[in-house]
């Protein structure tokens, strides 16, 4: 049965999150977090309207703040703010699930 990541239509983003899944299996949780967070950044880079208005504020607020946060400054796309280098399994899954859900909801 295909997982949710496999339902992502964009080949580049799908491949990145499939690689994140593989890193999860190997125990490389930092890579999972990095790929997932960067997939979300790529989503909003391609679709900047997703960060507009109140919906956009809400979307930013829902980003997991578990060791990597978003740095947001007016007029610029968000960037990642790393607070640490080591992550737990559950933190990695949280970032992966968040990114996957955001991409699917955006129809990517």
């Amino acid at each position: 049965m295909a997982g949710k990541v496999d339902r992502i239509q964009d080949p580049e983003l799908r491949a990145s999150l499939q690689a994140a899944q593989e890193s999860l299996r190997k125990g490389d949780y930092r890579d999972v977090v990095r790929r997932s967070a960067e997939a979300f950044l790529e989503l909003v880079r391609r679709r900047p309207e997703l960060l507009e208005g109140q919906e956009g504020i809400r979307r930013l607020f829902m980003f997991p703040r578990l060791g990597v946060d978003l740095a947001v400054s007016p007029g610029s796309p968000p960037t990642l703010k790393w607070e640490r280098e080591r992550f737990s399994f559950s933190e990695a899954v949280t970032y992966l699930e968040f990114a996957t859900e955001q991409l699917l909801q955006a129809g990517m």
Partner: protein, 416 residues
Amino acid sequence: MKFGLFYELQLPKPYDADQWHDDQEHRIVKEALEQIELADRLGFDYVFIVEHHFLEEYSHSSAPEVFLAAASQRTKNIRLGHGIVLMPPPYNHPARVAERIAMLDLVSDGRVEFGTGESSSEMEMGGFGVRREEKKAMWEEATRECLRMMTEVPYPGYEGTYFAMPSRNVIPKPLQKPHPPVWVAAARRETTMVAARLGIGSLGFSFETADEARERVEEYYRLIREECFPIGKAINPALAVLSVLSCFDSEEEAIAKGLEGAQFFSYSLGYYYSPFTGGAHKPGRVHLYRQFRDTPPEQRWGALAEWFRGFAGYRGGFGEEPQDEVGRALWRAAQRGGCIGTPEFIRETLLRYEEAHLDVMLFVAQCGARKHEDIMDSLYRFGTKVLPEFKERHEQHQRWRRQQLAPVDYPIVSSI
């Protein structure tokens, strides 16, 4: 589908007094125990009770292990659930959790459900020095080690990121082997998927609809089969969802006796979990219930919306459901929902969850200023008019579940 009760031990202050009367906390505890005794006799499967600290009026349940021990001596069959134990070590040392869970399992003849969680209110995290950025990692480390303590002789000791201890044999061990069924509080969808991947039950606190529950059930059980790395020595595949119950013979009575309590539940939850109001709470000085009552009913959600506007840009009014999961859960808790009504109305609602293969429906019955006699009346009506047919059909669900779990090799300890 199985059924349970979910307790916060809500205790609004009297409207016309600045503090509670001396006997009120005593009374609410005794009444809740009486409600659980009735639920046990009626055939409810679970009672879950929270661990919260300092959340005045919203939850007066800071020592659930004591409450559940009392419940264990008044009941025969109902499963006794922590909903949840706060696992970050600044709240509870993992060894103390392992000891308490095991002792409760012994005194209850093996009826414990070990719900775990991380907390998220500023009042609690600030009170115990837990950093928001680290709470999930703390939860995972403490839960994994706690389960080792329950099962390993001796526990070899641990030097972790968030706690350390030398080798000790942590005793007693729980009656259920290798350990009681494990759950995690899941206020967000991501946590349900963490639960699946770690082989533990998901206590869904976001008031999911039947359609949302169906989607989560499918993905959760797929992950259990294909992507599970158990955190303990046995897995507990199970999904529970929360709803607010008020079951009476007429719609009008169910709403009159049940809706305000649901709205206060949501109002007080929103108050403590908003970083603007919750973090700025003045201990011992706020009268939340008076604030709630003095807000006209049609504006109560509007008042919550003001808080949401502050941190999440929420613009909805009373009639508009927020899109973010946390706001949506609060909004839904304040609505009439599918389990405030007649037995027939509630039955129709529950059939949709049953068709979605949900494992457990948990009811908030004690909330706001609801009267004890009304809660008992509502439980009795549900337990005699709705519950029996679902119990009769539960075997069908168990068959479906066995099929879902057929490829799974891990030991299963589950009460579903």
